[in-house]
Amino acid sequence: MQDITEHLVELIKSASTDLPPDIEQALKEAHQAEDDGSVAQGALQTILENVQMSRETGRPICQDTGTPIFYVWYPEGGSQRKMREQIQAAVRTATERTYLRPNAVEALSGKNSGDNMGVDFPTIHFEEWDQDALKIGLMLKGGGCENVGAQYSIPSPEFPASRDIQGVRKAVLDAAFKAQGLGCAPGILGVGIGGDRATSMIKAKEQLFRPLGDSNPDPELDAMEKQLHREINTLGVGPMGFGGKTTVFCVKMAQLHRLPASFFVSIAYMCWADRRKTMTIKNDAVAIDAPQA
């Protein structure tokens, strides 16, 4: 297996410093939609300038470079152990080059490891697939938006909601309201329906890889994604919670099988700085891409 550490450093740099075009386009549309001279429009203006500066100077869009979450799809015969070592080496190098902030803090002592190495840090998901290319997705998920994620077990005495699409809608609206601007709105909501507490949230986060403009193959979920997008924006929370028209760019949902006893709705909130990129390596050809519809 070839050493792809340097390519991985480039993937990290690209994710941290070069915002994907679908998100940037959505930011521009949001900027146009807000009232001229409003605080909301001013916030989007600053964001758009910052995106441009980060790209031009190769510096992190946001200082909170988040949890590096890697998804690796590898051909038969690939070594997870070697890939893990190379990913860890790339994360260390990227931290030295200030593409990443040292972000791994031991939970109880508060001690920062200094090089982004820690228990399950960075996070890596592996999956073997039937293609002969190696594909690695990377998402940098910051703490502010992670903190406003939510998980509902429905129904409960505290949250009476039906075990159907309307119950899911209620949970998502509640989570979006409670987040206010704290997740660095305008955000993107990934929703996992069903599963157990862990798989449900993993599924929710995976939705954040989807391009903004795609459609859900499930017609019921597709309709609810669009409905929730409209409804959440009527809340008026707006960019940064300053009040305004764009609170979320989209809602992306997926369902999993669940136990008869359980019905989880998990909501992963991604900030406007939706830093996710994919690298594909086939033979010697390396391509780094943003999600495309």
Binding site: T46, I61, C62, G110
Partner: protein, 222 residues
């Protein structure tokens, strides 16, 4: 590719036209003149401080008797923070070849975690403002009113742009807290923020929350 227009050049000028310029040390009178929604360009020497820093200040300086080992930093902060600002920020920092540090990326972090501490820190050190994101609640709002301070909202995620307003990293304290959590003493020029909690008891966050709650209830009833 994003081109500088229509968004780019115009607004920097617009912001400069509309914004109030504040330079540290800031007077109470200047603070009392600010209202929610005002845009501010801040200049002068300020300090970053977030979770570990606030816990440390409360335990060592405000509730505790300052241990001898911490007296030098206490004097530094006592002088430096009077009329100045704490910025809730965990920067990305680069050490240059000449040994000096520089900010690479330095946007705000979520402020609400400092809610239990902030009003006491404002009072004890005579802060005129805190900068962060997401806003704070009643205890801080009351502290701002009583002691003549404001909450300034920086744009979350605008880390490169804000780092460029940092002209100099003057010093760093408590680097053993880790790079994000240390006190970074910085000189900024025209750092852009918005007043979202003023010294008259007004909070944009409380207003947006209340209005959005009404809309949520309608959606759930419909």
């Amino acid at each position: 590719m994003f081109s500088r227009d229509p968004a780019g050049e115009r607004s920097t000028e617009d912001t400069n036209d509309m914004a109030t310029k504040l330079t540290v040390p800031i007077s109470e009178e200047q603070i009392r003149a600010l209202k929610v929604g005002d845009q501010v360009l801040l200049s002068g020497i300020i300090y970053t401080g977030r979770d570990a820093a606030h816990k440390y200040m409360i335990e060592n300086f405000i509730k505790g008797d300052c241990p001898d080992s911490e007296k030098a930093l206490y004097e530094e902060l006592k002088q430096g923070l009077a009329g100045s600002v704490i910025y809730h920020c965990g920067p990305v920092v680069r050490k240059r070849d000449d040994g000096k540090y520089e900010f690479v990326a330095a946007g705000p972090t979520t402020s609400i975690r400092e809610e239990p501490y902030q009003a006491d820190v404002i009072e004890h050190f005579g802060l005129r403002a805190v900068i962060g994101k997401g806003g704070m609640r009643d205890k801080t709002l009351t502290g701002c009113k009583e002691h003549g301070a404001v909450y300034l909202h920086a744009i979350g995620g605008a880390a490169t742009l804000i780092a460029d307003t940092c002209e100099e990293v003057v010093d760093v304290f408590k680097l053993d807290f880790g790079v994000p959590e240390a006190f970074w003493k910085i000189r900024v020029k025209d750092f852009p923020c918005v007043v979202t909690m003023d010294s008259h008891g007004e909070s944009l966050h409380a207003k947006v929350q209340a209005e959005s709650e009404g809309k949520l209830k309608k959606l759930l009833a419909g």
